[in-house]
Symmetry: C2
Subunit: 608 residues, 2 copies
């Protein structure tokens, strides 16, 4: 619906311009009014009616049936031409009203018309029901934007951000501060775009977030900062990621986790579009350990069950070799999920595809075993499962007839992660068979907390890296572990999850220079010189502080139900990072690179 929530404020859509009204706003209450409208010709019906469109909606214009210039203009202008018409709002003749059209009770009796611009080309029709490839939509983005859906998405985004600003600035005294995007490369910032400067060998960098600046603002006494911040991340080709994206970036002094969580709950509740279900606060929360153990992920979709159950105890004395093996290893476990009515809905090929997915995904012996919980407990391994084990499984997992059990064995984290993936795969399959598991109108917000502060480095598991970033404060009750078992330290990081999507994350930061130095230098082995300004700042009276960032593109995508974040961005890049309309990125002549003291290093195989 284009009846947007901003209407409650009655903005004047026709101030300062050559129209008196929008096409979409005319109703019976305007009968008899002289109006001037500007819009695009949506279609024409046998040279009798013409439907005019603007962002606000459609209106029917009656083409005069005389030999006037007005008739000529309105009959000859191609579809999608821009015209201005002046005339009177009249009732449609009885029986010709269109109750499906908001302006369906009236039409315009034209007195004068002006062709403002003729449409000469049209690569596709501007109708939402006309399916276009995404490549075509992106190439002709200026036409694609005319669709009701894109108009709705971008206008809703603007209004929701405006309400967020009202909440932050006007209700809670936040200061909107712009931070630089030409910055210094972060140590190890492999995902940061570089920008050559006119000084030989010196580069700026496009920051992945205003993290350092927002902390420095807190040191500067700017207490409550926010920014709708443009961020940059060069990840190469990734579907549903954009090299530039937007986050609602927030930082506060003298705050704890509870404060940040209340702030964000209030923010979302206040800014949520009024045509959607209201946001219920407070949001539930879950520790990272629980999310992993129960849902196999740090962003659980809690709209449906199929939770992961640890069934290790059932099989403590099993004779099944691979279960025995799994249990004998450190952190070894047997896990399962119960797929409701799985034997009814999942076909042989589904099971094969799940098995294949598991094999592809996992490098561990955590292959899934399917157990049909009907009379036969139909499975290759079922003969090894004792009757009392079956009963125990039924009790533990609340298995019903026709349910299917998906079992795996292996190291705790890996077994959980695999079942977490398979849970979502199975949900997809069940929904494809018509079972509604995830209500799309439901808003399941969830805080995930108590993340580990460090993770073993992927390339060298003997060393630690920050699970989020090196400025995250450790959990106060775990600080002593920093000096003995740092890998066990939990952090004061928190993520906000909506329907299985991470839409935000943040933390309480370290405000103690000594602690920050210890973590950077001793635990993370970073070159502290590169962050000396931050360490210095912490020593100059830095207040305790914390913050959060919400991913705006993803959030608006979930609110509008758009299939991709590209549908909530005016001019997105393709998944390969290209602007298909203007053809960016593009070649630059070598002489234009000279002032920046760089030259292209052509790969060997493309050399002449």
């Amino acid at each position: 619906s284009l009846v947007l929530s901003s209407h409650r404020r009655n903005p004047e859509f026709s101030s300062f311009v050559a129209r008196t009204n929008t096409c979409g706003e005319l109703r019976s209450s305007h009968l008899g009014q002289e109006v001037t409208l500007c819009g695009w010709i949506q279609y024409r019906r046998q040279n009798i009616f013409l439907v005019l469109r603007d962002f606000h909606g459609l209106v029917q214009v009656v083409i005069p049936q005389d030999e006037s210039a007005v008739k000529k203009i309105l009959c000859e202008a191609p579809v999608e031409s821009v015209v201005q018409v002046s005339g009177t709002v009249i009732s449609r003749p009885p029986g010709q009203e269109n109750p499906k059209m908001p302006t369906g009770e009236i039409e315009i009796k034209v007195k004068s018309a002006k062709l403002l611009n003729s449409c000469k080309k049209l690569p596709f029709e501007i109708k939402d029901f006309v399916k276009k490839t995404e490549a075509l939509r992106l190439k002709y983005r200026f036409l694609d934007l005319r669709s009701f859906q894109m108009q709705y998405n971008l206008r809703l985004r603007s209004q929701m951000v405006m309400k967020m600003r009202e909440y932050l600035c006007n209700l809670h005294g936040f200061v909107d501060i712009e931070t630089p995007t030409l910055f210094k490369r972060t140590p190890g910032g492999a995902k940061e775009f570089v920008i050559p400067s006119r000084e030989p060998g010196k580069f700026y960098s496009l920051p992945q977030s205003p993290q350092q600046f927002k902390q420095l603002l807190m040191v500067g006494g700017l207490d409550r900062y926010f920014q709708v911040a443009r961020c940059y991340r060069d990840e190469g080709s990734r579907p549903d990621r954009q090299p530039e994206f937007t986050q609602i970036d927030i930082e506060m002094s003298f705050v704890d986790q509870t404060g940040i969580r209340s702030l964000i709950e209030g923010l979302l509740q206040y800014s949520w579009p009024s045509d959607k279900d209201p946001v219920v606060v407070p949001f539930p929360s879950m520790t990272f350990a629980e999310a992993l153990a129960t849902y196999g992920t740090d962003k659980p979709d809690i709209r449906f069950g199929m939770k992961i159950v640890d069934i290790s105890d059932v099989f403590r004395n099993t004779e099944v070799k691979f279960l025995q093996d799994a249990l004998s290893k450190p952190e070894g476990s047997i896990k399962a999920i119960c797929i409701p009515d799985g034997t009814k809905y999942l076909k042989k090929k589904d099971i094969e595809s799940i098995t294949k997915f598991a094999t592809d995904y996992s490098d561990q012996e955590v292959l899934p075993v399917f157990l049909k919980a009907n009379r036969n407990w139909n499975s290759p391994v079922v003969k090894f499962i004792k009757d009392e084990q079956k009963l125990e499984l039924i009790r533990l997992m609340e298995i019903q007839e026709e349910d299917m059990v998906l079992l795996t064995a292996g190291e705790h984290k890996k077994a959980c992660a695999l079942l977490g993936k398979l849970r979502l795969e199975c949900a997809d399959l069940l929904e494809a068979r018509g079972v509604l598991l995830r209500d799309p109108t439901l808003l399941s917000f969830l805080w995930v907390v108590d993340f580990p502060l460090f993770l073993p480095k992927e390339e060298n598991p003997g060393e630690l890296e920050s699970a989020h970033h090196p400025f995250t404060a450790p959990h106060t009750s775990d600080i002593h572990l920093l000096y003995t078992e740092p890998e066990k330290v939990r952090s004061q990081h928190y993520d906000l999850v909506l329907n299985g999507n991470e839409i935000g994350g943040g933390s309480i930061r370290i405000h103690d220079a000594k602690l920050q130095h210890y973590i950077l230098a001793t635990l993370l082995k970073e070159d502290v010189k590169l962050l000396s300004h931050l360490l210095q700042a912490l020593d100059c009276g830095a207040p305790p502080h914390g913050g959060i960032a919400l991913g705006l593109d993803r959030l608006i995508c979930l609110v509008t139900g758009a299939p991709s974040i590209r549908d909530v961005i005016a001019f997105p890049k393709s998944f390969r990072g290209h602007d298909l309309m203007s053809n960016a990125p593009d070649s630059v002549p070598p002489e234009e690179l000279k002032p920046y003291h760089i030259q292209v290093l052509w790969p060997k195989d493309t050399e002449a």
Copy 2:
């Protein structure tokens, strides 16, 4: 004053955090209340009082005179340490009130105190009266931000932008749309930073403005667009310019110049801080030709006179050789300004410095001649000036005794431009002598209109270049001249000037593809292929449209009276484009450049 206009909305400055009140808000009305405050120790007086500061102001805290831990904390914490104190708001003893301090009637009787962070270093004192070099302020920006002035500037900026958003979004139905900053290089965009991509030889570019995008949004039916847009311009080292800057970017469909001007007048009136003089609308306007002839510039400061007067006719029959010569050339003219009380205020060395300035500035024979309009008409050339010429000058220029006349002869534009510069130089000199010419509290807004559409290219005056940009529409009454005398075509460009500073500019755009193609290809000799997407868009039913951009940094600078735009930006670059705090731009190891297929081309003289 820190009593900011946002207070009218009563934002809750203490929601979600560990304080009940801000330091600056406490008054007699809070007497007896139990409060918790968080702030920085501003100073301590003989271990009896401590003044605590937050963004909102200062409050006096009474240090208990017992042997408690509270006393120890409050007496031992260094200045600028962060503390939390809880206690009761009490009256100051009679006679000890401080009427100069907004909280001067009360003080805090402390019950408990907590040292939140100790300040270990302090490169300079956080007091506005302590003068610091700008380099020091930029290096320790996180401390400089604590000054009342910086807090005021940044908070005022945030509030003014918020009010602009309210005006645009809520009152007039504008849509806030984010446009990409990773874009394609504009043809000849020598001032655009390049960003290497992971594709060999392909570069993004940081746009100087969202010009193309805002026009494409109009083609896309997004009717009323605005954005607080980050823009980039690589001009090397320029004082008072920033490589990244912010503009209030606006575009509308179906609008003419009058509409845009009314919109902007309303916008500034609505968003102007309530503690300043109100903005009076409509703003006067002046053609470019008149501005040049009268003020010698396209951004006249109309707060004071000293207008340029054409005195060519007085000297038509002169015998003075250089005046004769000047008048005999094409567009030759004699111009003068009258400096009120000039003979009284301007000393010999002033006249020498003005003469030197003129010599340095001008490559033409437009050297200034000083005439003292007193009894003697004291000047080297005065003997050649006839008495009737003197009388005619006095009449034309309304010369008073003790005024000084500054005369120059040469080609119209160059003579005006020189006198325009000298007019401002003389104003500086007179003000240095105590004459108030330019009231800093006065707001002299001015629209400058009817600019030329093209200018002769500097390097090749036989060819034309756009005076502003190639999308500017020609004046409707001059369109026929495009095909005969394009250099005479006036444009539909307009500039907004405040007190002699250009604070905005925009134009009605070309919406006709054929006209745009003719101007690009035939007149400007540009490669139209690089703009094919825009030409295509104009052919797909582009509405008539126009827009404007306000330079936010400059505007806020003028509103706050800050000496430099660096004082209204949280983290500005130095005039050489450096971030002195983090040391950006910086070196990047060659292996981190490899994914971008570039290498540094070191200048010869720095090679080993």
